[in-house]
Amino acid sequence: MIAELLFATFFGLLLLGIHRKVIARIQRRPGPPVWQEILHMLKFSFKTTWVPNTASAALFVGVVLVAIGIWTAALFVVTSGGSLLVIFAIYMLHKIVEHGFGLSSGSPYGKFGGVRSVISAASEIPLIVSVAAIAIFTKSLLISDIVAYQTLHGPLLLTIPPAAVAMYVVLISKMPFGPFSIVESKELVSGYKTEHFGVWRAGLEICNGLKTYVLLLTFILVFAGGLPFWLILLAMLLITLSLSFVCALSPMLSPYDSVTIQTIIAGLMVAYVAILGVVS
């Protein structure tokens, strides 16, 4: 498990580095090296660490541990074929982590990053709609059952493509520099993570690496089924590249536009699943 955890963290960070590099090349900039996010994590691990005077100290530190804890649990659930509902719960609770990061420091930048995180909660609705669509077909939410269903009936990507699109939108909303990345927008310095430096920031980087790996792995297992490990890694890379293109070519939306678009997508998905439920 420790080896898997380390691999997931480093591979997730590598994917985020590739994401930054691809965005930079599309925008005709040289961009950082692809291992930049790994270097960030290592660099922050050895930098001076402090807790701001204005911070709620226990929460300021504790929320970092919670962030790593929930995504470690998510990795365990995915790799052991556990319930998709638990992944959904952890994904939603990541909002609380962002909110906690932002509010605990007392900084106005962090505070507004945290508030934006809460108001953009509409991005979670497409995920639960995807989960509902999957449940209609597979009659189970255990990832092991979903993979087994696809072995018999083919990938769910071909059976319920709108659900896959909805989850892809969820992935976009969690990628940095994307159209929905309002929580870490530049007018808020670094948004909810502005005041977390040193080892706390390294913890946040670990969480980001794990989160990226877990979400991409879940997407592949749920919509493409069980693949050989090397093919899963290749699929993760390809999905990351496609996400980078979307992020590079679309401007960051204003907070209320972001929420409006996510709500419209959620509404369309609810209608789709309602129709799916009636037809089946």
Partner: protein, 217 residues
């Protein structure tokens, strides 16, 4: 579909009321517990704000009496939340959720700011209204199926009316502050991070649990 949150790990029986822990409910329970501990051990942050028109800033400090009241409400909220996460009884679930709504109102209404209190008052009205469809849903389930036990209802032998499920979701939407009431940013940017976070955490947790309840029924 009975094990959508994973296979139950163990049951705790109090007469005909059963509490059950599955990987899903135990995850939610533990998170409510962890954040309740944060509420207990944390001092609130001092929010820094810019003084417009001057080269200065000021810090918002929470008074001791306000701190005590909000900490009490937050812990009560955490306990209600833990109850709502693991209960196997539909009526208990609605009771715990309505208690979460009451505690959330208390957490934000204690802030000495006109804007926050206005937002808290409006949210309080919605939360009060939300109890009606929620208890109506529990009553409909009891009347049509003869039981309120989620474990019995999950067996699938008794059909739960669609209207009861819809009313339950509607009620929980009214009780939860986030995400459907999140546009009232006054509440979420109020000082007192450990307490404000309990509002958004409890709201998201009850939404997650009601999703499981609806899929199980």
């Amino acid at each position: 579909m009975n094990e959508i949150g994973g296979a139950p790990l163990f049951f705790l029986e109090f007469g005909d009321i059963v509490i059950y822990f599955s990987p899903f409910t135990i995850t939610l329970f533990l998170l409510a517990l962890v954040f309740s501990v944060f509420v207990l051990v944390s001092r609130p942050e001092r929010q820094i704000d810019i003084a417009f028109g001057a080269d200065a800033f000021y810090a918002k400090v929470i008074s001791l009496s306000e701190l005590k009241f909000r900490r009490f409400m937050s812990i009560a909220c955490g306990l209600a939340c833990m109850g709502a996460m693991v209960t196997g009884d539909l009526f208990d679930f609605t009771l715990f959720v309505s208690l979460v709504g009451i505690c959330n109102v208390g957490i934000v209404a204690a802030v000495k700011s006109r804007h926050v209190q206005n937002a808290a008052y409006q949210y309080g009205l919605v939360a009060l209204a939300g109890t009606v469809p929620m208890f109506a849903a529990a009553a409909m389930v009891a009347a049509t199926t003869g039981t309120l036990s989620m474990l019995e209802l999950a067996e699938g032998t008794i059909q739960v009316p669609l209207a009861a499920r819809a009313l339950l979701v509607l009620g929980v939407m009214g009780e939860g502050m986030a995400p459907f009431y999140a546009a009232k940013a006054e509440m979420f940017r109020a000082p007192g991070a450990p307490y404000v976070i309990m509002c958004s955490l409890s709201s998201l947790l009850i939404f997650l649990r009601v999703a499981e309840v609806i899929l199980v029924l």
